[in-house]
């Protein structure tokens, strides 16, 4: 699977980390993030989530985030994969791996990546909960919104 991908298949952090680790003799740190489907949200009991994506644009948005990371942390390499379709409680919806010579940059880039995913990647989740279902809606996606980008950077480097 490409380092930036949207897939219907289960995600595998080990494989992504290994794919990213090619030519990694200069790396001193690998930070990872896994997003999981949890069984509760806003007081509701969640049964499962259903994700959909505008796939070609989602992949481009991932690549944009990778480029943003390279501008800020030139020594960091990052991979991110998002799963779509029906996901059960406990399953991984997203995995992110950041590799770097030093841990500080790896942690920061990993956190920046997930914050940006939530801002600009065209993926949506429908929550199926006890008694109904609802499309969750977060940020209006605008990759050129510098304020949003700064906010993600601020969280990453807090």
């Amino acid at each position: 699977m490409p380092l930036a991908a949207v897939t219907r298949d289960p995600l595998d952090l080990q494989t992504l980390a290994r794919d990213l680790a090619n030519d990694s003799s200069g790396d001193g740190a690998v930070a990872t993030f896994t997003g999981l489907v949890r069984n509760h949200n806003k007081g509701r009991t969640v049964h499962f989530l259903e994700y959909e994506a505008y796939e070609p644009l989602a992949v481009r948005a991932f690549e944009r985030i990778v480029n943003e990371i390279l501008e800020t942390w030139p020594a960091v390499r990052v991979g991110m994969q998002h799963r779509i379709g029906r996901l059960e409680i406990g399953e991984a919806s997203i995995i992110i791996v950041a590799a770097s010579p030093h841990r500080g940059d790896a942690f920061a880039a990993c956190r920046y990546a997930i914050e940006r995913v939530k801002q600009i990647v065209p993926i949506w989740k429908r929550e199926h909960f006890e008694g109904g279902d609802v499309w969750l809606e977060g940020a209006t996606a605008d990759p050129d919104d510098e304020q949003a980008k700064l906010a993600a950077y601020g969280i990453a480097c807090a």
Binding site: E52, Y54, S93, K118, D144
Partner: protein
């Protein structure tokens, strides 16, 4: 000219389909396509202030030009992760 309209998540539910073909008069912008769509389905207007748009799978603005054969997407606020 003919364009493909892509709708996602709740916008798709409101329209009853995520994949529509629409004829609009040239010259057209994303705004032209949106006005034509919402004239037909006023419920979609709820998203006018919060949606994003894309032309041929690249983020765009409402004023962006649209050409024959283009794919125009309207995207509700995103909730990935």
């Amino acid at each position: 000219m003919r364009v493909t309209v892509r709708l996602f998540a709740r916008l798709r539910d409101l329209a009853g389909s995520g994949d529509l073909i629409r004829d609009v008069e040239a010259p057209a912008t994303v705004e032209t396509v949106w006005q034509s769509l919402t004239a037909e389905m006023p419920a979609l207007r709820e998203y006018e202030a919060t949606m994003s748009v894309a032309v041929n799978a690249e983020y765009a603005r409402m004023g962006a030009a649209v050409h024959d054969g283009d794919e125009v997407a309207f995207l509700p606020p995103v909730s990935g992760g």
